[in-house]
Amino acid sequence: MALRSVISRKTLGSLGLGFSHARGLQTFTLPDLPYDYSALEPAISVEIMRLHHQKHHQTYITNYNKALEQLEEAMAKGDSSAVVKLQAAIKFNGGGHINHSIFWKNLIPTSEGGGEPPHGALGWAIDTHFGSFEALVKKVNAEGAALQGSGWVWLGVDKESQKLVVETTANQDPLVTKGPNLVPLLGIDVWEHAYY
């Protein structure tokens, strides 16, 4: 049940067919959950975990792979308008894959410590930047509830300033779209499919 992210490499090499260049495109597959679908009950139901992982996350991966293939073709042909047009699909589906991959790792059954407040360096940093763990929870709740439409709430760290931040992003935009120095620590999916 260990998490493994299987990355497959598709190469159309010169299999004796005389292609002038090897084509290597990295595509992605659905990472396994580090726990059973039912392991997060009653907080998150088995039905939602299954749908969320096998349908939503898988769809992002499928469409991300498709967009990457189309991008490769467009780049090879020098088709700039196609390249630019594909950016939205890449950001959306690639972002969806990135964000959900982080999300699964952020969760753990209560039997293994899920829900316990943070200790150590993170606990200290939270107290320093937000006053207390409760204050952080309040802030994250407020930001999440205030988000209009679909998106994510993040606890992140600014690499440069070494400060913790709470941020929101729209749709499937990864945290880095809010600042190039931001690294996600915890992401909460507030798309309706995450909790409906």
Binding site: L51, K55, H56, T59, A88, F92, Q148, G149, S150, G151, A170, N171, Q172, W191, E192, H193, Y196
Partner: protein, 303 residues
């Protein structure tokens, strides 16, 4: 228009397909950018939560009672209550819902009340876009324009479904009537014709709706996940197909089209009237200048 809750509910009883809120008064839309300072009553006007024009179980099995209880009873209700809380005591208080939307849109730099106001409007419009035993094909003028502007009814359905499916995240897909106007303050379309007033399919994110682009919405489908998740889970495509096949209220759409066309015609007449007035003013000014010059000029040979 929202004066008091009482009049609003009376008018909806007589005009079940009121969808695009407004009267046939062609001057209504010309005034709607200015907050209404007249007609202020002492009672603070509250935006009301209008129920769908059918019972919550009557769209089954295509749209369940359960999802409508959440969708209307929690989501739509939440937007109404939050909006009323936001506008009470402000200059938006007492304005019509459409006026609040346009004012809060603020050219894209949304004021806080925009999301709630637009979502209230969108949901009312959505309930009225559906009916029990709906679906099938449109007819009459609406069908004629669909065939003219999309090539065929099937092509329109394809485009509408595609817009609904490809709206990333939360949002809406629309059929709208667009009266092409040049976007420059004092310019008019030099060659106005029936072809300029056309049907379009558009999609919008979150709470945005075609009112902010000055289009007349005719039909909408809600593609926020809360609109279909309990019934269809992630299968948005299935939800959209069922909506088209079993739920669309084409009579409401046709009615809205008639209103949109008469508003467009009224606006054209108004602009024509204004242009003629401006031309006459300009002519009068230039005549005055000529008279002035003649009496002053010593080289005048008008004796």
């Amino acid at each position: 228009m929202h004066g008091t809750a009482a009049t609003a509910s009376l008018s909806s009883a007589f005009l079940p397909f009121q969808g695009f809120r407004g009267s046939l008064d062609s001057t209504f839309r010309l005034q709607w950018r200015k907050p209404k300072k007249a007609h202020r009553t002492l009672i603070t006007a509250q935006i009301e939560l209008k129920p769908p024009p059918y019972s919550l179980n009557s769209l089954e099995p295509h749209m369940s009672r359960e999802i409508l209880e959440y969708h209307w009873g929690k989501h739509h209700r939440g937007y109404v209550e939050n909006l009323n809380r936001q506008i009470v005591g402000t200059e938006l208080d007492g304005m019509t819902l459409e006026d609040i939307i346009i004012a809060s849109y603020n050219k894209g730099d949304f004021l806080p009340s925009f999301n709630n106001a637009a979502q209230v409007w969108n949901h009312e419009f959505f309930w009225e876009s559906m009916k029990p035993g709906g679906g099938g094909k449109p007819s009459g003028d609406l069908l004629y324009l669909i065939e003219r502007d999309f090539g065929s009814y099937e092509k329109f359905v394809e485009e509408f479904k595609s817009a609904a499916l490809t709206q990333f995240g939360s949002g809406w897909a629309w059929l709208a009537y667009k009266a092409n106007r040049l976007d420059v303050g004092n310019a008019v379309n030099p060659c106005p014709s029936e072809e300029d007033k056309k049907l379009v399919v558009v999609k919008s994110p979150n709470a945005v709706n075609p009112l902010v682009w000055d289009y007349s919405p005719l039909l909408t489908i809600d593609v926020w996940e809360h609109a279909y998740y309990l019934d269809y889970q992630n299968r948005r495509a299935d939800y959209i197909s069922v909506f088209m096949d079993k739920l669309v209220n084409w009579e409401a759409v046709s009615y809205r089209l008639e209103i949109a066309k008469s508003l467009a015609a009224g606006r054209e007449r108004e602009e024509e009237r204004r242009r003629i007035e401006e031309d006459e003013d300009r002519m009068a000014d230039s005549e005055a200048i000529e008279m002035y010059l003649d009496s002053e000029s010593e080289d005048s040979e008008t004796d």
